[in-house]
Symmetry: C2
Subunit: 168 residues, 2 copies
């Protein structure tokens, strides 16, 4: 697949109290994007604040050909943890003043997408498992978000998805 | 900080049923290690299967100087999500036969450290917050594991840590 450019907005877009650091000249390790998330939300402002794994819309987890064998047996799991890369977020802010309360906090004290390593995790319910993609409920990210990982989640408190998962 | 080499054991160490892929020639994005996790476990085989955020040993989350301002306000959170890089895990296996049951599953259907992007997440309780490090309970990784991220976790079901968190 084609690598996305790393988008880093200009320094100008900072709010009062916010501070940034110079990013390291090089990263320490590389991530491979293993697929894409297909959701109904074309822009960040349309995304829900949190995914709903019972009533949320059906979303598609597309897995690239190289990694498809890694899906073997995934249909036996009702809930999954989806890790993805928030590719629209800048990475250099260490203090942020979210619009919601005007207070300034460190990036590690916030769940904002803006962080040194914009990796996010969603708990989803598995609706259908196919050879090259999954259908799930519970995502909350923008359409086209790069997929990093899929893990089974043992989540006894979570509601049972509807309809049941279909084994690969 | 000094970058760790990416350790990828030789192909020879595969079990029956396991399969590997050629890794991509290049990654898609880079991760910055933002610190280190200090735990009592010097080797992977000593690590507990899951961390215990009430009775687990005190562990230290060391944050590198560049990122320390991002800790501002973290002391107000009782529980944190710690993301880290499982630097000892190979990345090329897509099917695995864990010793525990002898069955073969896809890497995405397992929570094994062996996966294309060995990122793991632990829920911990915050015991003390300092300017350059945190003391937490609940980690289960090997000493020296690279830190990727720290996020506050709203986790009303989790037991209250002992003693209470100390604000930075």
């Amino acid at each position: 697949m084609t690598a996305l450019p790393e988008i880093l907005p200009a320094r100008g877009a900072m709010r009062p109290g916010e501070s940034a650091v110079d990013l390291p000249a090089a990263g320490d390790v590389s991530l491979y994007f293993v697929g894409r998330l297909r959701t109904p939300w074309k822009e960040r402002r349309e995304c829900p604040r949190q995914g709903d794994l019972v009533d949320g819309p059906l979303c598609r987890v597309e897995v690239d050909p190289r990694w498809r064998a890694a899906l073997k047996g995934i249909g036996g799991h009702a809930h999954l943890q989806i890790l993805y890369w928030m590719h629209l977020a800048r990475r250099d802010l260490v203090e942020q003043s979210p619009r919601s309360n005007g207070e300034t906090s460190g990036s590690f004290a916030l769940r904002s997408p803006i962080r040194p390593n914009p990796v996010s995790s969603s708990l989803v319910s598995l609706v259908e498992a196919h050879e090259d993609h999954l259908i799930v409920r519970g995502l909350d990210c923008v359409d086209g978000t790069p997929l990093i990982d899929i893990k089974p989640e043992k989540c006894p408190e979570a509601p049972v998805p509807k309809p049941p998962a279909v084994p690969v």
